[in-house]
Every structure is written in structure tokens, then in C-alpha cells.
């Protein structure tokens, strides 16, 4: 591996975290009024914004209508200034399209799609600043936005990543750790039922270590879940107190 030592002898990572520690998560629900649901999340320096419109009538191509379930439409974009080097476009490149597809599949598995036949739900996520774990930030933000929009889901969808450095699994890897070329596991989980809805491995990982890293990723998801639940409860609490006042 190149010059950078991702894990020091004392067991600390480059940004001072311990291997199993997540980055600080801060989020806010209901940031916009016009959308049906919206949320903003910061995971360390990764910042993502999600808005949800719907369920509404299917727009555009009518052949896309599904008769037994809702059509989920995702758009993933990255602000042109979100990465270190300026991007020439915010959406429509291959990576974004792939991400879009992954997000769509993830939420098709979690939303109770059979409740809204012949309708459409739009999920738009935008990365404002990218520092690793874009997919997981998007999923977590979108989950909050969907909850904000009041669309029924089987469970929260919580996503997290894990890497593997010098025989130690590390949770929630940052851009620096991502770009060193080690293995990366991306997991989206329904925490209550322990069901994995999306799973990706990038680069090579020995089967013997696989379980350890997966456990770390799943633990990460559950930690995220704890944070998200608290945020949702706070948000709903605030709404309730506002309503009781009026």
C-alpha cells in the first residue's frame, strides 16, 4: 500500500477515529416547504440533501405505469463543486446513473409499493460535498425524507460502509480511505429484521475476512439507525408540540 498509513500502531485512523467509530452524523428533516418530504444529512464532511415528491400521478411516459405497485423514480446528482476537482456536469454521467439505479432498487425493497398502484414517487438526492460514503449518505437522507413525506416503509433503510486495513475492519470509510484501493463493503440494511436490501463489494477481499467486515458494516448500519430514530422522534415531537399549541 502507498505511503499513507491508514491505521496507526496505536489503533487510530487518519482522522483520529477508532476502527469501529462512525463519523459524526447530523441531520435535519423538513428543510424545504414545497417538497412533500425533505431531509439534509452530514456524515463527517459528506453532505447530502434529499427531497421526495409524491405519491402523485405518473408524469411523462405513460408506458412506465405499473398496475400493481408504485413507480419509484430516483435522480442522483452531485453539485459541480462537491468534489476536490470541479465536475463539468452534475448529473447524467455513468456513475450517477448507476447510483440512481441502486437507489431505486434499494427503496423499491423498503417502501410498501403495493399501496399506491399506478402512481409515482420521486426521490431526488443531491451530494453537496463529497467525502466518501456518498451512497450511504444518500440512502440515509432519502429515508428521512420519505419518513418526512409520510410514505409507509417496512422499516428504516440504513446504509453504511466498511473497509479492511491491516487485518482490521474499519467502519464508515472516508474519501481518503476509499481512494487507497482497499476493499470496500457497502450495505443497506433494514435494521429491525436484519435484512440486507443492497450490498456491494469493491475490490478484492479474502473470504475468511469477509464475515468480520460485513459484521462491521452491519454494526455501522445499526449505529446509523440509532441516530436516525432519535432524529425522527425529535422531529415528530416538535411537530406534535406545534400542533398542540395551535
Amino acid at each position: 500500500m502507498s505511503g499513507l498509513e491508514l491505521l496507526s500502531d496505536q489503533g487510530f485512523r487518519l482522522d483520529g477515529r477508532r476502527p469501529r467509530e462512525l463519523r459524526k452524523i447530523e441531520c435535519k428533516m423538513g428543510v424545504f416547504q414545497q417538497a412533500n418530504g425533505s431531509a439534509y444529512i452530514e456524515q463527517g464532511n459528506t453532505k447530502a440533501l434529499a427531497t421526495v415528491y409524491g405519491p402523485h400521478e405518473v408524469t411523462g411516459n405513460r408506458s412506465k405505469i405499473e398496475h400493481d405497485k408504485v413507480l419509484i423514480n430516483c435522480q442522483y446528482s452531485m453539485a459541480t463543486f462537491s468534489t476536490g476537482e470541479r465536475r463539468s456536469r452534475s448529473t447524467g454521467d455513468r456513475k450517477s446513473q448507476e447510483m440512481q439505479l441502486h437507489l431505486k432498487k434499494t427503496f423499491e425493497a423498503a417502501i410498501l409499493t403495493q399501496l399506491y398502484p399506478r402512481s409515482q414517487i420521486d426521490i431526488y438526492v443531491q451530494i453537496l460535498q463529497a467525502d466518501g460514503g456518498n451512497y450511504s449518505a444518500c440512502v440515509n437522507a432519502a429515508t428521512l425524507a420519505i419518513i418526512d413525506a409520510g410514505i409507509p416503509m417496512k422499516d428504516f433503510v440504513c446504509a453504511s460502509t466498511a473497509g479492511f486495513v491491516s487485518d482490521t475492519p474499519i467502519a464508515d470509510i472516508s474519501y481518503l480511505e476509499e481512494s487507497q484501493g482497499g476493499p470496500e463493503l457497502v450495505v443497506a440494511l433494514l435494521p429491525k429484521s436484519d435484512q440486507i436490501v443492497e450490498f456491494q463489494v469493491n475490490s478484492r477481499l479474502h473470504l475468511d475476512n469477509f464475515e468480520k467486515v460485513l459484521d462491521m458494516a452491519i454494526k455501522g448500519c445499526k449505529d446509523v439507525h440509532a441516530v436516525l430514530t432519535r432524529v425522527v422522534k425529535d422531529h415528530v415531537g416538535q411537530l406534535a408540540s406545534k400542533m398542540s399549541k395551535t
Binding site: 416547504q33 453539485a79 459541480t80
Partner: protein
């Protein structure tokens, strides 16, 4: 533009309100909505700002990169504008939905920032004819609540105030080759002089009168508007008529006089705000409030 559908009755209500100098949200015809501005919200940019004008929300990130100067002006740096109509603002902007509007608005900005005294473009030059700073000004529209151009220009001015351009030194070796060294001192940057940066003031003709800072509903009642860019001393640096209907010369006269007055006030207001937050590098972003 995000769609709002109004019935004739609702439109008449708005038009009559404007005639009495009282608008739906209690403002008079020449008032802006509340403006919140914050700088330094995206840490990997040279300068950034987030601006909220009631329901309209705009995020601007400026990246300073090195590039080749344009052949027609080898001794100056230049600006590149890009407006991104994010689908977050409205489902209509999904895919290529916002492209036409975005192109239109980027052109407007580019045109207005052409006048050579707006920024010190010469200070952006590193080696004449070979290397200069290119400021990529990217505007992301996050929520669309009317009066987009004005909000964007306010955000652009705030982001320019926040922009730090690293100091560079040009080293010349004995063979006449040139090498650029960027200062690695965190305080080794210079800021931009923004006192001449203009702001857009959009005047929308509603019924017999005109209003500034129209909401989405008011924009739906408006058939012609005038976009004027005003600098802090009240001079105009560009103007264009929008919309499909015509205006009488008297109303254009009134609109321009209003634009000058409102523009000066707007600059003053923003400058006071910026003197507090302009240099900040740790914006709290969306987590506030």
C-alpha cells in the same frame, strides 16, 4: 418554473392587492422578503454561500482553478457561470428539464459580469497569455419560491465576498522557463474586491403597477418583467425585458427609477450582512433552525 396554478379569482385578488400597495404576505410593492445568508458552507470550495429568500433557496460554490486566458484578453482572468436547476427544487427540472432556463440565466450572469470594472480581473492573471485564475461560479437552485435571479445574484455576491484565492509566485529559471508555486501558508490568500459587483433586481408588472421580489403566485400573474442589474451606486450594468407582453414607456420609466432605489437599498442590506458573515469558513448550513 415550478408550476403554480391559479384561478382567475385568485389572480384578480393578487392584482387588486398590488394596486392597493399591499401584497398577500403583507409586504408593500417595493419590499423584499426576509433574506438569510451564510458563507463558507461547503469546505472544499474557494468560496461558498447559501442564501434563503423566504421559499427560494440557493447554494453557490466558487472554485478557483488555473487555466489559459482567453485570446481576446490575455492579461485578465475570467469567470465561468453555471446554473444547476436541481431536481430537488421541482420535479420539472429532472433530467434535462431545467436546461433551457439554466442556460438563459447563466448567459445573463456572464453578460452582466463582462464589464471590466466589476472585479479586478487583472489581479486574476498569473502569467499574461499563459496562465490565469478561472473562477467557476456554480449556482445550485435548491428550492424554487419565485424571484430566482435576484436570489442567485445575492448569493453570488456573498460567495465572491467569501472567496479566497491562494497567493502564487512565479519562479523564473535561467532558461527563461516559468514555474508556478502556490503558497501553502493557510493565510496566504487574497480576497476579492466586491464593492462593484452588481445585483439583479427583477421588476414584475402586475396589473397597473409593478412589484419587486415576486413570489411564485405573483409571477403567475405577471406578463412582463424587467431584469435590471444594479451596482451599489445605483448604475445599471445590464437590463433585459422578459415575458410575452409589452410595456409602455411610462411604466418602464417608473420601473427603472424603482430599480435604482431598491437596488441601492439591497446592496446596503447585503453589505451589512456580509460584514458579519462574509469571511466565515464554518457555515452551519442546513442544520440551523
Amino acid at each position: 418554473m415550478a408550476s403554480t396554478q391559479l384561478s382567475d379569482g385568485e389572480k384578480t385578488f393578487i392584482i387588486h392587492g398590488v394596486l392597493d400597495n399591499l401584497r398577500n404576505d403583507g409586504r408593500t410593492c417595493e419590499n423584499y422578503r426576509q433574506i438569510e445568508v451564510e458563507c463558507g458552507v461547503v469546505s472544499n470550495t474557494s468560496g461558498s454561500s447559501r442564501l434563503r429568500l423566504s421559499n427560494t433557496e440557493v447554494l453557490v460554490g466558487i472554485k478557483a482553478e488555473m487555466g489559459q486566458p482567453k485570446p481576446q484578453s490575455p492579461k485578465t482572468g475570467f469567470l465561468e457561470f453555471f446554473v444547476d436547476f436541481s431536481a430537488n427544487a421541482s420535479p420539472e427540472f429532472e433530467g434535462r428539464g431545467g436546461n433551457d432556463l439554466s442556460e438563459d440565466m447563466s448567459t445573463r450572469f456572464a453578460e452582466v459580469f463582462q464589464t471590466n470594472n466589476i472585479l479586478d480581473f487583472e489581479s486574476l492573471c498569473i502569467i499574461p497569455g499563459q496562465c490565469c485564475w478561472v473562477l467557476y461560479i456554480d449556482i445550485v437552485l435548491l428550492e424554487c419560491g419565485g424571484n430566482l435571479l435576484d436570489a442567485m445574484s445575492l448569493a453570488v455576491k456573498a460567495a465572491l465576498a467569501n472567496t479566497r484565492i491562494p497567493k502564487v509566485t512565479v519562479l523564473r529559471d535561467s532558461e527563461g522557463g516559468e514555474d508556478i508555486e502556490v503558497s501553502d501558508d493557510p493565510d496566504g490568500y487574497h480576497t476579492l474586491e466586491i464593492s462593484k459587483v452588481p445585483l439583479f433586481v427583477t421588476l414584475s408588472k402586475i396589473g397597473q403597477k409593478h412589484v419587486v421580489d415576486a413570489t411564485l403566485e405573483e409571477e403567475a400573474c405577471c406578463s412582463a418583467s424587467l431584469v435590471v442589474s444594479v451596482n451599489s451606486s445605483g448604475d445599471f450594468t445590464g437590463m433585459v425585458k422578459k415575458g410575452s407582453s409589452s410595456l409602455s414607456n411610462d411604466s418602464i420609466h417608473d420601473m427603472l427609477v424603482t430599480a435604482k432605489k431598491v437596488g441601492i437599498q439591497l446592496h446596503k442590506g447585503l453589505d451589512t450582512l456580509l460584514s458579519e458573515v462574509g469571511q466565515s469558513t464554518a457555515g452551519r448550513g442546513f442544520l440551523v433552525g
